[in-house]
Symmetry: C2
Subunit: 357 residues, 2 copies
């Protein structure tokens, strides 16, 4: 149940001030807050201010560092490996993406593998930085294990998202940002609140049998990969690029986001890992020609003959751009549990709560 | 029904000689034959020698050029755009991948967008070139439209495959090579031959309703994207990188593989498009450390607790490596229709047929 709506500015200011209260420098706090609240703006409520308290708890548990010293471990003209010094991914992936963009300016593309990091919010927050530079943006991350590989009944992979975005001209950019599991955990939580059963192939039970129970994860079950074994393969690619290539943890060893669960012992790497990239359009063809054709691509796909006239074919990212415009105008609705988590932070820090619209 | 089995060497030699007969130079014919028969070796029967006659027909129709002059239209230290001059993708993607590898040697990664090309066989044939150099290999291609975007009932996208492969040490390499449709067209053909119904969500009917009819494509239906809208998004990313970025055709304009169907008029680009890439492992971390951890990754995933002990979790590419070993030893079984298509080529060219094992 949504308690009330808040302006983007008020949630940004609250988040920034909380990060500063817990020791973050101003500039880093602004980056982290912007990337976090972008999720709320785009309608990805599970990844926005709802997680602010979780990030703070990670810091209190000594697992997140709000004043990290980023260190480039290795680099070539088009690549780098970054030790994020336990930063929030909200900051380290932003730094990594900026580095990738700088490299792309020099040699056409830039690719940065990041280790020793924490949860980075929505992948689109980082990949979309490339759009402003007429570049293609890519952002991947691994995450703590919830998904079983095909034929398995053990949680081995995170919901490991893939974001790829392309600039366009008159239309909004193409922004694909998707979990490689059949459904993200946030969708299960919604079904739990509404007491609904799940569609088939979202989860399986602890013994590996088919299930539509929205509470299956709490009973020892697992999320299923997107469309079966292919989704497992995609999640594995994200895990290897984010985890193995960077020197972070991978597979079942990726540390949990929640501070009350401890990482496993004898970890093979450092923290969680991300992989970000930027490709300059004009490293392939003139950006103006590409963006004009992206408009043609988008226009033609929007004109696909629909099954039902009232449900036209959508372009990846279209719903999120519409939601952003709506929420910038009407405010961001927050669930009452999210408001309560903010109230906890407000009373702990002595800050005032944002004023509801 | 399989007619007989043939040695790898005999199918390679037959294919090479056919390409030479129709005007290809020796070196190009060896590359094309190797890439084509690799599909048969890996058990991807739909993409191997079964298509040889189709490539020849494309040449006869003036749509494929067996003596192309590849032209680099634009490049930066880490990128290039290639005009394939109507080559078979079997050759142009190979050339593009070699160029990507050379660029990766210089600046860490290399990325090549290819326009004005034709069908490139299996994506793995190209991506796996990177493995020999301790690089990560990537190969994508668009293809003629068979797949409808979510909510649509019009064929707008190909089965647009994604291949990503990683080198390892003691184990076989990790090789994900997958169509972004729920099922590749070859799987429908198998169901047609066996007179079987399809699993749900592979195809839909002409009016957009659910179907399990293996003949649905002939009735005006469409393939469905992998796992719904996410598969549509992935297929779109492949289409844009392969088609829009390179200056090839995209979406519904991608020319058909079969020579008896003509391309549409007023095409927005040239031929079909591919996108290939190579990333040097040691542009991120020492290759030996990465490959050792890939072994750990593979070993741990093979040990995933299985639902049924007799069906262990597989590593992407594992089945294909097993099939390769089996077929190198026992020969490659060919369907009688494939043998007949080879006999047609043999009598047309005056060549002798390979001798069955």
């Amino acid at each position: 149940m949504n308690a009330a709506s808040y302006s983007y500015e008020s949630l940004f200011a609250f988040t920034k001030t909380v990060f500063i209260h817990f020791g973050m420098q101003l500039e880093a706090a602004e980056i982290a807050a912007k990337n976090l609240i972008l999720a709320d703006l785009r309608g990805i409520d599970s990844h926005g201010i709802a997680r602010l308290n979780g990030y703070i708890r990670l810091q209190k548990a000594g697992r997140a560092n709000f004043n990290p010293a980023f260190k480039i471990l290795h680099q070539t003209p088009s690549t780098a490996t970054l030790d994020a010094d336990k930063a929030l991914g909200l900051n380290s992936a932003h730094f990594g993406m900026q580095l990738a963009i700088e490299k792309a300016k020099q040699v056409g593309t830039g690719w940065v593998a990041i280790q020793n990091s924490n949860h980075f919010g929505i992948a689109a927050a980082h990949a979309m930085l490339a759009l402003e530079q007429d570049m293609i943006g890519i952002a991947l991350t691994n995450a703590s294990p919830l998904v079983t590989p095909t034929f398995g009944k053990e949680r081995m992979l995170g919901t490991n998202p893939i974001c790829v975005c392309f600039p366009s001209n008159q239309f909004n950019a193409f922004v694909l940002d998707m979990a490689t599991s059949a459904a993200a955990n946030g969708k299960l939580e919604i079904a739990q609140r509404l007491n609904k059963t799940l569609p088939p192939n979202w989860v399986q039970s602890e013994n590996g049998s088919a299930s539509t129970n929205a509470h299956e994860l709490k009973l020892g079950g697992a999320l299923l990969p997107l469309g079966g074994h292919k989704g497992y393969g995609l999640a594995a690619v994200v895990d290897i690029l984010s985890g193995v290539l960077s020197g972070a943890n991978f597979g079942p060893w990726v540390p949990p986001f929640v501070a009350f669960l401890n990482p496993l012992e004898n970890l093979p790497g450092n923290g969680i890992g991300h992989f970000v990239g930027a490709m300059r359009i004009d490293a392939f063809r003139p950006a103006s020609a590409f963006k004009k054709q992206m408009d043609e691509w988008i226009e033609r796909f929007k004109q696909t003959i629909p099954i039902e006239a009232e449900n036209p074919v959508l372009i990846p990212g279209e719903l999120e751009f519409n939601e952003t415009n709506k929420r910038l105008k009407n405010g961001i609705p927050l669930h009452h549990l999210v408001v309560e988590s903010m109230q906890e932070l407000a009373s702990e820090t002595g800050m005032s709560m944002p004023i509801a619209l």
